[in-house]
């Protein structure tokens, strides 16, 4: 009995520490506020409908993947559905989808893996009616993590496909 209680409190402690690690990680990305290789650096605040801020804050510019997977989870599909609706409404933006991998893979493989993730998001958006001519992809492999730490809380944030509006080459 007492063992069960301590096991349960251990579990709570573990959950808490993951929450802390994520909070610590999420401070890291995009302090410079530039576009590309991760997304926009945004503070809280109002966003004009149709603006880049609107897209990032109210739609969500990124989807996440399981380890070594390129499959779109139901959460990822829901985000991409919202992206497709928004992108159909605001047709002025060209779109670059960046594919990224976490650090637990070799460099060359991760370029290919990132390319596959970007392609998965691109195909999904195209199937939802976004013209392929608006969509390009780029893979950064493991070169541009947004979260920097040595555990699962960071790795899961780095395995991502980010939809960047008016990205490079636009």
């Amino acid at each position: 009995m007492s063992f069960m209680i301590s096991a349960r409190s251990l579990k709570i402690a573990a959950v808490l520490s993951i929450g802390l690690a994520m909070a610590a990680c999420s401070k890291n990305p995009n302090e410079d506020g530039t576009n590309g290789a991760g997304g926009l650096g945004l503070g809280a605040g109002a966003s004009t409908p149709g603006s880049q801020q609107d897209f990032v804050v109210n739609v969500g510019d990124r989807v996440f993947f399981e380890s070594d997977s390129t499959e779109l989870t139901s959460t990822a599909q829901a985000t991409l559905d919202k992206q497709a609706t928004w992108l159909a409404q605001y047709g002025q933006y060209s779109i670059t989808i960046e594919g990224h991998a976490d650090e637990r893979g070799t460099r060359e493989y991760n370029f290919a893996l990132g390319a596959r993730r970007a392609e998965a998001a691109k195909s999904y958006l195209a199937a939802r009616g976004i013209p392929a001519s608006r969509l390009r992809t780029i893979s950064y492999g493991k070169e541009r993590p947004v979260a920097v730490c040595n555990d699962i809380s960071c790795w899961s944030q780095n395995r991502r496909a980010v939809t960047v509006l008016g990205g490079a080459n636009s």
């Binding site: 990305p29 893979g105 070799t106 060359e108 370029f111 290919a112 040595n150």
Partner: protein, 443 residues
């Protein structure tokens, strides 16, 4: 013949002249001289050869001896003895050392030498290698050079001694291209750089404006192939490190990455990403003709030629996970060679001697560097842990370099180890370093 000429003239271009053998005192085939003193191919159970590198005479002598000693310390097969233990000061480098005294500290060889400045201002370096057991000189040589090439002379002397004792080619007079890394991990600045194999003479070849990765040396020229992120699609480029001239390799409809030269230097083999697949292609650097080698829906990457150019080793996830395959150089006949239970294999690279393929192995969250025979047998892990990656071979096929990144906010450093994993040494670089690629022997 023509190759020998070319190499000679390159060495002369660098201001190095071989003065020939120094008063060898031994006829070829003499009963005292062995063809080699340590068989490095026999296996991991060798006894390193104890060698005493005495201070060369002349103002620059001790510095030269220091470079040679440092080289031997990382050679694993040779074991330089502590100068404090030396039984005598060498006053005349041309005279035999007192063999009985050197035997007392278990030295098997003694190196003596001198560095002098000739009337023309050129540096004259002489060395002699003495076998303590016979008291005889086993080799000796003189080099005349511009004083700016002092470090290279030390490496050439190191190679001459290493070769005389092991019967193998040297590797000290060689350079390594790598990626110099600075800045925080999420905005890492990467520069294509080059250094001597011992970490000295670091020079940046790009200035960090573009993200660059995976440089590879040409076996026959001053060219480096690498992947660069510029304004558009990430692509494979070739940079001539002497002229600074840069060109894109081919006009492919997608990201090209993971380049490597063919053994004759005439072709680049690389991956092309199209849709969700990555396949292998070659481009002939003279005709610009491109050839598709694989056609899978999977990820084929990290190709590397066998030294005779007839086969290619690469990694593919066509069977579900990353594994190592060997196929014909023209494509086709791919055969999986990596089979360890629960392991993934990547970044295979064929040894310049042809006897081994080095690789990265992922198993249970650990990243090891290992070697196996080209048929997949005889696997040996040289180092393991989190996170080793990307081996490259020394020009004599007896050592690998790789990088190790502990993860988190830190960064990678470059290491070298012998093929048996007996010794491992960090290659000292000021900044973080990754993606080392060892170039050919210079002389």
């Amino acid at each position: 013949m023509s190759e020998t000429k070319l190499l000679l003239s390159r060495r002369q271009a660098a201001g190095l002249l071989t003065g020939g053998l120094l008063g060898a005192g031994l006829m070829p085939g003499s009963a005292f001289a062995q063809s080699k003193y340590l068989d490095v191919r026999r296996g991991s159970n060798f006894q390193p050869v104890p060698i005493a590198v005495t201070n060369f005479a002349g103002d620059q002598g001790p510095a030269l001896s220091g470079i040679i000693t440092n080289n031997f310390a990382r050679s694993v097969f040779l074991q330089p003895l502590e100068p404090r233990s030396f039984p005598e000061q060498i006053s005349n480098p041309d005279a035999p050392p007192r063999a009985d005294a050197w035997r007392m500290i278990n030295a098997q060889f003694v190196v003596t030498g001198r560095v002098a400045r000739g009337a023309d201002g050129r540096m004259q370096t002489q060395f002699r290698l003495w076998d303590v057991s016979t008291g005889q000189q086993v080799t000796g040589q003189q080099y005349v050079t511009d004083p700016n090439n002092a470090r290279r002379v030390a490496h050439i002397v190191s190679d001459a001694i290493f070769s005389r004792i092991t019967g193998e080619k040297g590797f000290f007079d060689s350079r390594v291209v790598f990626i110099d890394e600075t800045g925080p991990k999420e905005r890492r600045i990467k520069k294509l750089s080059i250094m001597d194999q011992d970490g000295s003479n670091v020079r940046n070849l790009t200035q960090g404006d573009d993200l660059v990765v995976t440089p590879r040396f040409s076996p026959s020229s001053q060219d480096v192939a690498y992947m660069s992120f510029g304004k558009g699609e990430p692509r494979v480029f070739i940079l001539n490190i002497e002229t600074g001239q840069r060109e894109v390799v081919g006009n492919f409809p997608g990201m090209t990455f993971s380049p490597r030269f063919s053994p004759d230097g005439q072709k680049i083999i690389m991956s092309l990403s199209q849709g969700s697949a990555s396949n292998l292609f070659t481009m002939d650097l003279r005709s610009r003709a491109t050839t598709r080698l694989t056609d899978t829906a999977g990820i084929d990457t990290s190709p590397s030629y066998s030294p005779d150019g007839t086969q290619v080793v690469f990694e593919s996830d066509r069977g579900g996970t990353q594994q190592v395959y060997v196929m014909n150089a023209g494509g086709g006949g791919a055969k999986r060679i990596s089979y360890s239970e629960g392991a993934r294999y990547s970044t295979p690279v064929w040894s310049p001697k042809g006897d081994f393929i080095a690789f990265t192995r992922q198993k249970g969250g650990s990243f090891g560097i290992g070697v196996m025979k080209p048929d997949g047998s005889g696997e040996r892990i040289i180092t393991d842990g989190y996170h080793n990656e990307g081996p490259t071979w020394a020009p004599n096929g007896l050592y690998v370099m790789f990088f190790r990144d502990p993860g988190g906010g830190g960064g990678p450093k470059i290491f070298m180890a012998d093929v048996f994993g007996r010794g491992e040494f960090q290659v000292p670089t000021q900044n973080y370093g990754s993606d080392p690629a060892w170039g050919p022997l210079l002389s």
